[in-house]
Structure formats: structure tokens, C-alpha cells
């Protein structure tokens, strides 16, 4: 095996999502072979991103400005909130150009086997955004898998008595998948065909 700096590099790379021990080794050797300037750029990019990117205090998504570009845009319709699991889902929906409202990022889905309950998600923050009655519709766009559907059910029950319209993306999304991997046309159509659940 490796020791010293090489072992440390492989260990740190191996902690990244989707990177197993073999890939970590491959990337480590790639870095050793690479031009020192390229490596410096990678290191800078990682450090800069970590230093500059925070979370929007309104919608909770990863951003460089607070509020984020979408929450701060006067042309966006602040009366419609689209609720998603992760920041990357926002990007997927933005690509469809179907939606002109604002977002709310939960930070995951309810999953009892992983010990993730409503308190671990940004649900209280969502309720606070709805408290002043300016929001007329909430679109629940959690992933079309078991956990996403259960979270949607939980939310729609919580929102049922608030007097807002609650809708869920139309079916047609690949069942069991991640929202971020749905293609633009399908996702766009699911948005246009959303149905009220309250």
C-alpha cells in the first residue's frame, strides 16, 4: 500500500461521493502526473468555492449572493413556491424554462431508515415563508421515488389547512428516479401538467 502524502490523498479523494478506492487511486496518480499549474488551479477552485458559496437565507440553495439570484429577481413571481429536495434540482427545473416562480430547497427527503425526519429538513422555514399569506401556490417537486413521494404526502397534509393551492408534478417522470436526471422535455411537461392535491 501507499504511505505518507500519497495515502492521505487517496484517503481524502475516496471520501467523495461516487468515488471508490480504485477511482481514488486513479485520480491520485493523475494528479501526480499533472502539470503543477493545473493542480494549483484545482486547489484554488475548491478553496474559492468553499469560501464564497453559502446558502440562500430565503430558499436555502447554494449561492454566492444572499439572497440568491432567483430570490432577489423582481421579475420572478414570489407567490408561487416550488419545493425541491436539493439545490441541483433547481438547476434542472430552470433548464426547462417552464417555471417563473421561486424555490424552496428542503435539503433531502423523509427517510426513517436513514433517521431523516421533518426536523432535519427545511420544513419550518417553508412554513415561515407561508405565514404572511402572500403565497398562493406551492408546487411539490420532490423526487419521483418512494422517499420523495412520502415527503410530498407529508407536506401536502401539513399545507392542507393553510389556504394555499398545493400541487404535485404530473406523472410521466421516470418512477424511482431522481428529478435532476429527468430530461428537460419530460420535466417541462410534468410542470405544465401539475395537478392540485388539496
Amino acid at each position: 500500500m501507499y504511505d505518507g502524502a500519497m495515502a492521505e490523498l487517496i484517503e481524502q479523494l475516496g471520501r467523495l461521493p461516487g468515488i471508490g478506492p480504485k477511482s481514488a487511486q486513479r485520480i491520485a496518480f493523475h494528479i501526480l502526473d499533472a502539470d503543477p499549474d493545473d493542480v494549483a488551479r484545482l486547489v484554488d477552485a475548491v478553496r474559492e468555492a468553499k469560501a464564497r458559496i453559502t446558502f440562500c437565507s430565503v430558499c436555502g440553495r447554494a449561492t454566492e449572493t444572499d439572497p440568491c439570484r432567483i430570490c432577489g429577481d423582481p421579475r420572478r413571481d414570489q407567490t408561487i413556491i416550488c419545493v425541491v429536495e436539493e439545490s441541483r434540482d433547481v438547476i434542472a427545473i430552470e433548464r426547462t424554462r417552464e417555471f417563473r416562480g421561486v424555490y424552496h430547497v428542503l435539503g433531502g427527503a423523509i427517510s426513517p431508515i436513514d433517521g431523516i425526519g421533518p426536523n432535519d429538513l427545511r420544513i419550518a422555514e417553508l412554513m415561515r415563508r407561508l405565514a404572511d399569506n402572500t403565497v398562493g401556490e406551492v408546487i411539490i417537486a420532490t423526487d419521483p421515488n418512494l422517499e420523495g413521494e412520502a415527503t410530498a404526502t407529508y407536506l401536502s397534509r401539513m399545507l392542507a389547512d393553510l389556504g394555499v393551492t398545493v400541487s404535485r408534478l404530473a406523472s410521466g417522470l421516470p418512477v424511482g428516479g431522481d428529478l435532476e436526471f429527468a430530461d428537460e422535455v419530460t420535466l417541462g411537461r410534468a410542470f405544465a401538467g401539475r395537478r392540485s392535491v388539496t
Binding site: I110, S111, P112, I113, G117, P118, N119, L146, E147, E149, A150, T151, T153, Y154, R157, M158, G176
Partner: protein, 371 residues
């Protein structure tokens, strides 16, 4: 349908195996533990993406290897199709049909159709409900491949619901109640879907089991099989889903007390009755063997009906367990198969009238070889 070629790499006790097979009967002979069942298990896995003896893929990969490959070529009439499965325990398996990647498991189930008779199944009548559900699922999934996905969704929903129940027991808050209620809404329709699939598989078996039993035991016995569920009276999938939700509500207190889900297809069973009373408690040893054989024959008939040609018939170690009369009746009953793969530890256990080509299975340094 018949398997014309089987290749195994790092599967069970095989390091690398390439075997050309013929239609008709083929016997794999060799002492215990040589790798006979391992070989047919490769074919069985190609047909239902599940082994007939273990749940989970890890034991199927040769000890010390990272992944296994099963490559099965089947011939149906003039056409031949190759299914290749790379088993990656802990990660998604890679599946190809004729060299083209397929993403959905349901697109591969049904290409290799097989029907297994195994000692495990001979204990079907007196054994555990889980054994009967497993047998039933092997039929259901080949008849309607989408149930493979339904079953894995159900298993996940059940785990989630059980975890939600346990959190509620640990900390009985309004929020924990609401989380459980949300999971109930997910769980009930999926549970109903799976139960409906199993119910229909039982109906199909039920249509042919009486005749199958008569072929094994030519007496005037009355055999009935039925789907047994804790959910009372229902006639359609929709009725079943709402009856299931209702039953969950009724058993809520019991579930809290027991800390687990009491209603659903994971608790259901096939009821088998011989001349009235349940065979599990009343049938004699001989009757139980005949009933189990009849159930397997019935599954062969069901799988035979759904395709253009009969499934590959796999008789894993069954002759050793049967007396002379049942051996002959079994052989008479399965004449429809285009290929019969038989495994036996002792060649003399295989009836001579099968006129089978025989292959010797040996093992050197823990690795299986075939001659």
C-alpha cells in the same frame, strides 16, 4: 426453449466456464459440493434475476473476486438470444441483451425462461410461508416481469414504514404520527400491488394444479390452493388497497405494541388443502411430496402457456429424493420440455429412460471444471 451455451466467470465455484449444451436431457453428475447446482443457478439467475436459494448477490460472486459474469444463450425456434449479467454486489448490475445494454430489469426477465424443481421446493407443503412466497414469486415475476420492480419497491416501503413505526414507539410525537401516516399512504398501494400479483399467480397455478396432482398421484383426491391474506374480502386491486389501509388502521395499536408492520404481502401465504383440511398440518409425508411436485408441475404448465415454447426445465437433485413410482410419473409429466437439465450426485439415481447425455462435474483446488 433451450440453453445452447453458458459462460460463467467468477460465479460461485467457477473461475471460468464455457459450456455448449444440446437440446433434450442433459445430466450433470459429480459428488456433493462439486458445483452442479452452482451451474444451473447461473441459468436460473438469468431468468428471474434472483437465485432460487439465496437472497442478495454477494454469495454468488466467487470468494475473492470483485464481480461475476453470467452469459446465457437461449435458442427459441431459429432465433437465439444472449443475456449477459455482470453481478456487482453493492452496486448496480450491468445487463446486456445481444450486446446491447438494458437499463430496466423488466426488459430482461422473460428472455431466458426456466422452471426449477429443487429439494427446497419439495419441502414447500410442510415448510415456512416464506418458502412458498418465494416459489410463488418465481412464477409471478416470469409471468409479469414488472413485479420485480414492485417487489423491490415493496421491500423498501416496508423497511421505511417499520422504521417510522419504531421512531413513533421511541418518541410518540404528533410529528412522528404524521410521518407514519405519510408512509402508510405510500405503503398501502404498493403492498396491494404485490399482493394482487401474488394472488393472480395463485389463481393461475390453481387452474392447473388439480390436473398436475392427478398426474403424480392418480387417485380421486381433491386439491385446492388459495391466496391467504390477513386482509379480508376483496375482488379487485382497488378494493384490496382500501381494505389494506383499513386493516392497517384497525391494527394500529398492535403494530405499536409489536413494533412492526403486521399487514401486507410479507405475511401472506399460499393455502394448500387436500380433501378439505390444510395439507401443512394434515397431509402424510408421501402426500406432501406429491403435492409439492404437483405445484412445481403446475408452475411448469403456467410458464409453458405464457411463451411460444416451453421453459427450460431444471431438475436439481430431485430424483434422489423421489421413490421409483414418483420418478417415473414426473418424467411422464414433463415430456413437453425441449431441454431438461438434471443434476445428480449419483448417476444411478437418474432414471435410465431419460437417455440423457451426461457431463462430469469435478473440482480442482476449489474451482469447478466440467468434462
Amino acid at each position: 426453449m433451450w440453453v445452447s451455451r453458458l459462460e460463467l466467470r467468477d460465479f460461485r465455484s467457477y473461475e471460468s466456464c464455457e459450456l455448449d449444451l444440446s437440446a433434450g436431457p442433459v445430466v450433470l453428475v459429480g459428488p456433493n459440493g462439486r458445483g452442479k447446482t452452482n451451474l444451473v443457478e447461473g441459468i436460473i439467475y438469468s431468468s428471474a434475476l434472483d437465485s432460487h436459494r439465496v437472497h442478495g448477490d454477494a454469495p454468488l460472486v466467487r470468494t475473492g473476486a470483485d464481480h461475476a459474469v453470467i452469459r446465457t444463450t437461449v435458442a427459441t425456434g431459429e432465433r437465439s438470444t444472449t443475456v449477459e449479467i455482470q453481478l456487482n454486489p453493492g452496486r448496480a448490475n450491468r445487463i446486456q441483451v445481444n450486446g446491447q445494454a438494458v437499463g430496466r430489469t423488466r426488459d430482461v426477465v422473460g428472455i431466458v425462461r426456466s422452471c426449477v424443481f429443487a429439494p427446497e421446493h419439495l419441502r414447500l407443503v410442510k415448510g415456512e410461508p416464506a418458502d412458498r412466497r418465494r416459489f410463488l414469486d418465481s412464477v409471478m415475476v416470469q409471468v409479469a416481469p414488472r413485479y420485480l420492480g414492485v417487489r423491490s419497491d415493496f421491500e423498501r416501503a416496508l423497511k421505511q414504514r417499520n422504521a417510522a413505526l419504531r421512531s413513533l414507539v421511541a418518541a410518540p410525537t404528533r410529528e412522528a404520527e404524521a410521518v407514519l401516516a405519510a408512509w402508510d399512504e405510500r405503503y398501502a398501494p404498493i403492498a396491494a400491488e404485490l399482493a394482487w400479483g401474488r394472488y393472480n399467480a395463485v389463481q393461475q397455478l390453481s387452474d392447473v394444479v388439480v390436473d398436475a396432482y392427478r398426474r403424480i398421484s392418480p387417485q380421486d383426491d381433491e386439491v385446492t390452493i388459495s391466496y391467504e391474506s390477513a386482509v379480508p374480502a376483496w375482488h379487485s386491486r382497488e378494493e384490496l388497497a382500501s381494505a389494506l389501509s383499513e386493516a392497517l388502521r384497525e391494527r394500529h395499536r398492535d403494530e405499536i405494541r409489536r413494533g412492526g408492520t403486521l399487514i401486507g404481502p410479507h405475511r401472506d401465504d399460499i393455502g394448500i388443502n387436500l380433501n378439505g383440511p390444510p395439507a401443512r398440518t394434515h397431509a402424510s409425508h408421501g402426500e406432501a411430496w406429491s403435492l409439492a411436485l404437483a405445484l412445481q408441475l403446475a408452475s411448469f404448465d403456467v410458464l409453458n402457456r405464457i411463451g411460444d415454447d416451453p421453459p427450460v426445465l431444471i431438475l436439481d437433485d430431485v430424483f434422489a429424493e423421489l421413490d421409483e413410482v414418483r420418478r417415473e410419473r414426473l418424467l411422464d409429466a414433463v415430456t413437453g420440455a425441449e431441454q431438461i437439465l438434471v443434476t445428480a450426485a449419483v448417476a444411478a439415481d437418474v432414471p435410465a429412460q431419460l437417455h440423457a447425455r451426461s457431463l462430469q462435474v469435478t473440482r480442482v483446488d476449489g474451482v469447478t471444471h466440467i468434462e
